[in-house]
């Protein structure tokens, strides 16, 4: 090995603590990049492969009792590659030993055998016999949650008749990667299942022989969905068509999309921050090293080493730091992303996980790390190359401290000499001071931006569960029923209050903007399911118009007083032009509200209910549940009490994980910046500080100069970090907001205090570590060495 390379390795070893501090920051950037890209890619590819292999449909339409003869027409539409008709319904199950009524979505398996589209994967047992009338296959997570094995039996309430079904096997389907029951806010495998029954049996039970309720369509490659959807809408108009939707509106797919977008957002926001800080740290450390090694550089040049060789020598040192950071980042990133991808695959019900971070991702993240180090070291390396050998070997002139106006001001303030030294140094190296502040501010901001999530969720939970949805349970009916159904509900055992609502499906339009939503028709003064305005007061939909959630209004670009066109579909038809009469802030879904009497007039109907909200006496819950299982028209029920607990449990677990990760990241940055800044201070001021000690200053007083400057910078970094953190939080809240939910920007004082405490503590710990070196400094040898 050449002597210069030996020097390189020895320098690297000597600078290990500083190199490590930088490498860790860089590793964090590389790991986050690898993790978020790797995971979003794994999720994306797993989904694509699953969809491809199992022929996930492109378009879905819900209608009621469409004659099968129409299928031929559908298949003839230009661009349609395949169409499959299914009989579907919601039903309540009665599982032995389980008190609660369980809701299931039941869909048919075609008479001819296996489905053509949305082909489920058989995970255990067998497919139901197409001719059997009492066989059923379950989606795997539901079967596992309820311990239902092939051969087990349970009761189902189909069209008012209770019958017993035997489980033949477990399935997984690309259509139900993510399942969420009607009225529920989070997935619940135990209380919401997917059932596959042979078409003949299901159609007979529902009086749908020769008809279907749901259509899945696969497009030919190169054809877009929109024209086909329009034709389907026209064709199915007479059958209570709910409106054709493409993949983007298919619930399961929309949730996965949202998750992938979030991961990608992280990949774009965080890594640049880490790599940027690494650039600065390398710049600071290499700059100092070159200044320290001036004479060595001069000597190497005198010996005949060229400019290039010197430049490369210092770039290689930064390359070694980058190498360490990148390797560490790869290791941690691979481990994290594989672990998290498995967690995701589990959360979403994928049958397998396609996880292969391509060498591309490794290459790009590695190059970015190396690029950051090179960018950081370039200035120092070039200045080393440019040093003239003759001047390099004569000692540098002492830095020039100018007496500025500020100095006179400081003098007038009668600041102590040590404090003066701190302030002078800040004025002397303003760029370095500013960058150190910025680095620590970014650490604060990362903590602020991650800490705000729990607060935002508190607001969401409070708004969704305590302000808006105060009912204990929601009962859904397969069709809208006359209001007398409400009376029936009141008679169920244990029911204290019961209130009804009618759910309608409509496409709202304003010029070229349109959105498919559920419109709730409500009587004024409802107390259980409330619509709450910003000030927390319940509001009613004003008669004669439509009230919209703010996000929906923004998507349609309408305000109060504007007109929207509402095309109703499903069991109530018609197109109306309605004025927007109010706006409300909502975190879940895109709500739209009509006054019940307005709706009755529009559809010339007697008052209807499709949903009943109830509160129940906890003591009688068992009797209530038992009775629910017998209700013929019940499509489903959701126990919101359980939803609440489940939601909070899931969330608080996730928050613990993410808060830990972000705290570690924030600490890494702080240590990287504070430790390196302090080490460089110590190196530059060793003589000065030693002189002070010799003059009789105590260790404490001298230590104060070192510790004081870094901590002063850390303090200045706090408000800057709060401000940046607030901005990042806003950015994240905006980018995480989808049709499904909105993240409110809630910033509590505790968020800022907590972030500041972590960063200040990490900064103090780093600086104290360096102060110990100051205490151990040998005064005599420091004074003897030449700069």
């Amino acid at each position: 090995m050449s002597a210069l390379d030996i020097k390189l390795l020895r320098d690297f070893r000597r600078l290990w603590a500083q190199s490590l501090a930088i490498a860790l920051v860089m590793a964090a950037g590389v790991a986050v990049l690898l993790m978020s890209f790797g995971m979003s890619k794994a999720l994306d590819e797993t989904r694509d492969t699953y969809y491809e292999r199992n022929r996930f449909a492109d378009i879905f339409v819900d209608a009621r009792s469409v004659p099968k003869s129409l299928l031929a027409t559908v298949r003839g539409i230009e661009g349609v590659a395949a169409a499959e008709a299914r009989v579907t319904t919601h039903a309540t199950l009665d599982i032995e030993g389980k008190a609660q009524a369980t809701v299931a979505f039941v869909t048919s398996l075609p008479e001819g055998g296996n489905p053509l589209l949305n082909v489920p994967i058989l995970r255990l047992g067998d497919w139901p016999d197409p001719n059997a009338s009492d066989q059923v296959a379950l989606n795997e997570p539901f079967a596992i949650a309820n311990n239902l094995w092939p051969g087990d039996r349970f009761a189902i309430n189909l069209n008012g008749t209770k019958r017993t079904l035997a489980v033949t096997g477990w399935l997984l389907s690309p259509e139900f990667v993510y399942t969420i029951g009607p009225g529920s806010l989070i997935p619940d495998d135990e209380d919401y299942g997917i059932l596959w029954m042979p078409e003949r049996a299901l159609a007979a039970a529902l009086d749908r022989t020769g008809a279907f309720d749901n259509l899945a369509v696969k497009l030919r490659p190169g054809f877009s969905a929109k024209p086909v959807m329009d034709e389907l809408d026209t064709l199915l108009e007479p059958y209570g068509n709910w409106g054709a939707i493409d993949r983007s509106e298919q619930t399961s797919n929309a949730f996965i999309d949202g998750e992938i977008t979030q991961l990608q957002t992280l990949a774009y926001i965080l890594p640049p921050v880490f790599l940027g800080i690494a650039v600065f740290l390398v710049n600071m450390v290499m700059g100092r090293l070159v200044r320290l090694e001036r004479t060595e550089i001069g000597l190497l040049k005198a010996l005949g080493y060229g400019n290039m060789a010197i430049c490369v020598h210092y770039l290689l040192l930064s390359g070694l730091i980058a190498g360490a950071g990148v390797m560490l980042g790869w290791a941690v990133g691979s481990w994290l992303s594989y672990g998290l991808a498995k967690l995701y695959a589990n959360f979403f019900k994928f049958p397998y996980l396609i996880y292969n971070i391509s060498w591309n991702t490794y290459l790009i993240s590695g190059l970015l790390g190396l690029g950051a180090a090179t960018a950081g070291a370039l200035r120092a390396a070039l200045s080393a190359a440019r040093l003239s050998p003759a001047t390099a070997m004569s000692p540098p002139a002492p830095p020039h401290f100018k007496r500025s106006l500020l100095d006179r001001l400081l003098a007038a303030l009668r600041i102590s000499q040590p404090s003066m030294m701190i302030l002078r140094s800040l004025i002397r190296w303003p760029f370095r001071a500013a960058m150190s502040v910025l680095g620590m501010a970014l650490a604060v901001s990362i903590l602020v931006a991650s800490n705000f999530f729990p607060d935002a969720l508190d607001v969401i939970i409070d708004s969704a569960f305590h302000q808006s949805n105060r009912q204990h349970a929601v009962l859904f009916f397969n069709e809208a029923l006359p209001e007398s159904a409400l009376q029936d509900s009141r008679r169920l055992p244990g029911v204290l209050q019961a209130e009804g609502q009618q759910y309608l499906t409509a496409v709202l339009r304003n010029e070229h903007r349109e959105k498919r939503v559920v419109v709730e028709a409500r009587r004024p003064g409802l107390d259980l399911s409330r619509v709450v305005d910003d000030s927390g007061k319940p509001v009613d939909a004003p008669p004669g118009g439509i009230m919209l959630a703010r996000r929906l209004a923004a998507q349609l670009d309408v305000g109060v007083g504007d007109l929207v066109e509402a095309e109703f579909r499903g069991n109530r038809h018609g197109t109306f032009t309605l004025p927007v009469t109010g706006l409300v802030t909502q975190y879940f879904g895109l709500g739209a509200y009509l006054d019940q009497e307005t709706a009755d007039r529009m559809f010339q109907q007697s008052p209807q209910v499709s949903v009943v909200n109830v509160t129940i006496d906890a003591a009688q819950e068992e009797a209530f549940q038992a009775q629910l299982k017998e209700l013929p028209m019940l499509a489903g029920s959701a126990m919101l009490v359980e939803n609440r607990e489940g939601f909070q449990e899931t969330i608080s677990q996730n928050i613990l994980i993410t808060t830990t990760i972000y705290t570690v990241l924030g600490v890494l940055i702080t240590v990287g910046v504070a430790y390196n800044a302090a080490r460089i201070q110590l190196s530059e001021r060793a003589r000065e500080l030693a002189s002070l000690r010799i003059l009789g200053f105590t260790r404490g007083e001298v230590g104060y100069i070192l510790v004081g400057e870094i901590l002063l910078l850390a303090l200045i970094a706090q408000p800057v970090g709060w401000w940046i953190g607030w901005g990042v939080a806003r950015l994240m809240a905006e980018s995480f907001t989808s049709d499904l939910y909105a993240i409110p920007l809630v910033m509590k004082p505790a968020t800022f205090t907590q972030a500041s405490l972590v960063v200040l503590a990490a900064a103090a710990a780093s600086v104290l570590l360096v102060r110990r070196k100051l205490d151990q400094m040998n005064l005599v040898s420091v004074m003897k060495t030449r700069e």
């Binding site: 050449s2 210069l4 030996i6 020097k7 001069g298 000597l299 040049k301 010996l303 003759a390």
Partner: protein, 237 residues
């Protein structure tokens, strides 16, 4: 020795430092010759321009005016790359403060040169010459000043340079150690025939030279040839 081969020649060589307020003539119109195989001592008070001259001869610095030749090659016409090449192939330097790389052992410090030279000795051989083979694997911090300076000389001669330029090689040493170092230089000059220039402000050292060049205010004031040279061992200060 006047008819010996000339290694360095300067014509009207000046170096001006412009510090803004005043111009300092570190060298003012210097004309001189240095001969192959001679050991020349450059004597003069501090600030008289000795180091400046040595740096320009060694290709470490640029002249402001005038011309410099190394044999028949004009140094003042070389660019940075050419000067680097020149230093690498022809010149060995010894500095007052040894300038060893602290993170490299004695052998590795010598290796810095042998790695890039055209026809070097083995580092061990160079260290042998200065009597330090047994301390080969020591770091600079583990050696005395005299030993460090001898390593520096080993490093300078390892490439078998044609000229050895020494700027106050004994400046940081006590007299006994300084004499040891000078003796090594004399030995190299005699055994390898390396033209050697030794800068000093210590008049006693002039006695070991073939020729003594007196510097004053950036000018070559005069020179004298020693008819009788004194071995370093017999010099004392």
């Amino acid at each position: 020795m006047t008819d010996a081969e000339i290694v360095f020649r300067t014509r009207d060589l000046s170096k001006v430092y412009d510090t803004g307020k005043v111009k300092v003539f570190a060298l003012a119109h210097v004309d001189l010759e240095l001969f192959a195989g001679e050991l020349a001592v450059l004597l003069g008070p501090s600030g008289s321009g000795k180091s400046t001259l040595l740096n320009i001869l060694g290709g470490l610095d640029h002249a402001t005016e005038g011309r410099v030749w190394f044999r028949d090659r004009e140094l003042t016409s070389l660019n940075d790359r050419g000067l680097t090449r020149f230093r690498r192939d022809h010149v060995g330097f010894v500095f007052q403060f040894y300038n060893l790389v602290p993170s490299l052992t004695a052998r590795e410090n010598v290796q810095l040169v042998t790695d890039v030279a055209r026809n070097p000795m083995r580092p061990e051989e160079a260290l042998e010459r200065v009597g330090l083979v047994q301390r080969m694997d020591h770091f600079p911090a583990e050696m005395s000043g005299g030993e460090q300076q001898r390593v520096a000389i080993a490093r300078a001669v390892a490439k078998r340079p044609e000229v050895l330029l020494c700027d106050e090689p004994t400046g940081a040493l006590d007299s006994a150690t300084g004499i040891q170092v000078l003796d090594v230089l004399r030995q190299v000059n005699e055994e390898l025939g390396t033209s050697t220039v030794v800068i000093t402000h210590n008049a006693e050292i002039r006695k070991m030279a073939h020729r003594v060049l007196y510097f004053q205010d950036g000018k070559l004031a005069r020179f004298e040839t020693n008819d009788v040279r004194v071995a370093p061992a017999e010099i004392s200060w």
